[in-house]
Symmetry: C2
Subunit: 248 residues, 2 copies
């Protein structure tokens, strides 16, 4: 194996992952739905500071990013960080169709990392409340929700809203949805019946936030032993509200 082969071999094991700060909306630049005619291949582009997401509806595109070739099929997404050269290295079948989205994130809102042969747990740990995560390329398990949001973005982007943030909120929703689909595909931690139960209780507490809650009332509503509930929530660091009224 020569050094160039070794380099390629090492690249195959690398995984490019981008983390997006979602504490504020991203900034939509442009978006569209493209359908390829005969003999079409992607023109050369250099993404100067903006991120591109491609969502394949049908067909195949052949993308060269810097020196590497990628084949992107129906139902796949391709999430390309800024500052790369992109072009099609081969013609796509006629009728190839995809959504595309260009956007900026807030300053320092993007972090692209290269992981060497990562395992799913390592990637899973990158997901946070204020951080969405997308790999360079992956296949979406389901398409319906993503297509609905993509169409909403295109619809809102072409309409005159009183605020340009209308499309920014929807585009951030799309990022979260894509990220969630990825999360589900790598996450195999089953949500236990008990966890689901506790989530249900948390939801109920949120819904009744305006009332002064006592643990006994929550326990009643779920036909639980109040001591069980206090123990469960104490070990889980719940919202302060419940614990502060828990022993009345």
């Amino acid at each position: 194996m020569n050094s160039s082969q070794f380099f390629t071999w090492e690249l195959k094991l690398m995984k490019t992952i981008t983390c997006f700060d979602i504490s504020e909306p991203v900034l939509h630049i442009s978006s569209g739905k493209f359908t390829a005619g005969k003999h079409w291949q992607h023109k050369h582009m250099y993404h100067n500071g903006n991120f591109e997401i491609i969502i394949m509806i049908k067909g195949t595109i052949y993308l060269q990013v810097d020196e590497t070739h990628y084949t992107v099929h129906e139902g796949e997404i391709f999430a390309l960080p800024p500052y790369h050269h992109l072009h099609g290295y081969k013609e796509s079948p006629e009728g190839t169709q995809y959504f595309w989205f260009h956007f900026f994130s807030k300053p320092n809102g993007l972090k692209t990392i290269e992981l060497k042969s990562p395992d799913d747990r390592q990637i899973e740990s990158l997901f946070r409340k204020d951080q969405a995560v997308l790999p360079l390329q992956y296949k979406l398990p389901t398409l319906d929700k993503v297509f609905i949001v993509a169409n909403q973005i295109l619809d809102v982007a072409k309409t005159h809203y009183f605020t340009s943030m209308a499309v920014d909120y929807l585009l951030t929703t799309l990022l979260i949805e894509l990220s969630q689909e990825y999360f589900e595909s790598i996450s195999n931690i089953p949500i236990s019946a008990e966890e689901a139960r506790i989530d249900e209780i948390k939801e109920w507490i949120r819904a009744n936030l305006s009332e002064k809650l006592k643990v006994s009332e929550v326990a009643d509503a779920f036909t639980l032993n109040p001591h069980y509930l206090v123990r469960k929530f104490s070990s889980r660091k719940p919202a302060k509200r419940l614990s502060s009224t828990s022993t009345n």
Copy 2:
């Protein structure tokens, strides 16, 4: 006219308007779709710091807020600021149905104002890029988009996402959509053909941001006289990018 009558008469001319800071997403507390059975009327609630939006799907609800009665019909929204007492003062028809959403905004993110016999221009001036605007009650001109987003919120709220912000982004999208519908209903400034044209050009420039643009190229793309374009954009304070390359 006694003082109490005068007070009521004055109230009728008042318009309660809430301005929402949308520079960051609002915080979803709870939401749902409610269908009334027989002899139902809204239970008493006190909104302790959280905002409620009701979107009527069908039927009628009779709401008393503090001392005032409101009748809310099919296709209307009711946007109730925090710190008010709410209850139904009369039974709703069986099958009355509505979406409801409770949320917090960021600290100081809400501003509710009482306008005395306002005109539409006064209200229009409240709409800003980072500020959505809703009156206490109004009839939505169209329902389709709003219902889609409402259903997305309910769907996402009941699913375990890696981030609770998934639903916050959609709820802020709903606020913007409701606000936009209101904006369209009061705004009668027609967008002139020229304004539409300039918006089209701005859109094109955004889409081509990664290239170094010259005015001559933009003018070519739109078959315009470059001098016209420079004049138009100079008088409109456009993005710096175009003006800095405008005379090359």
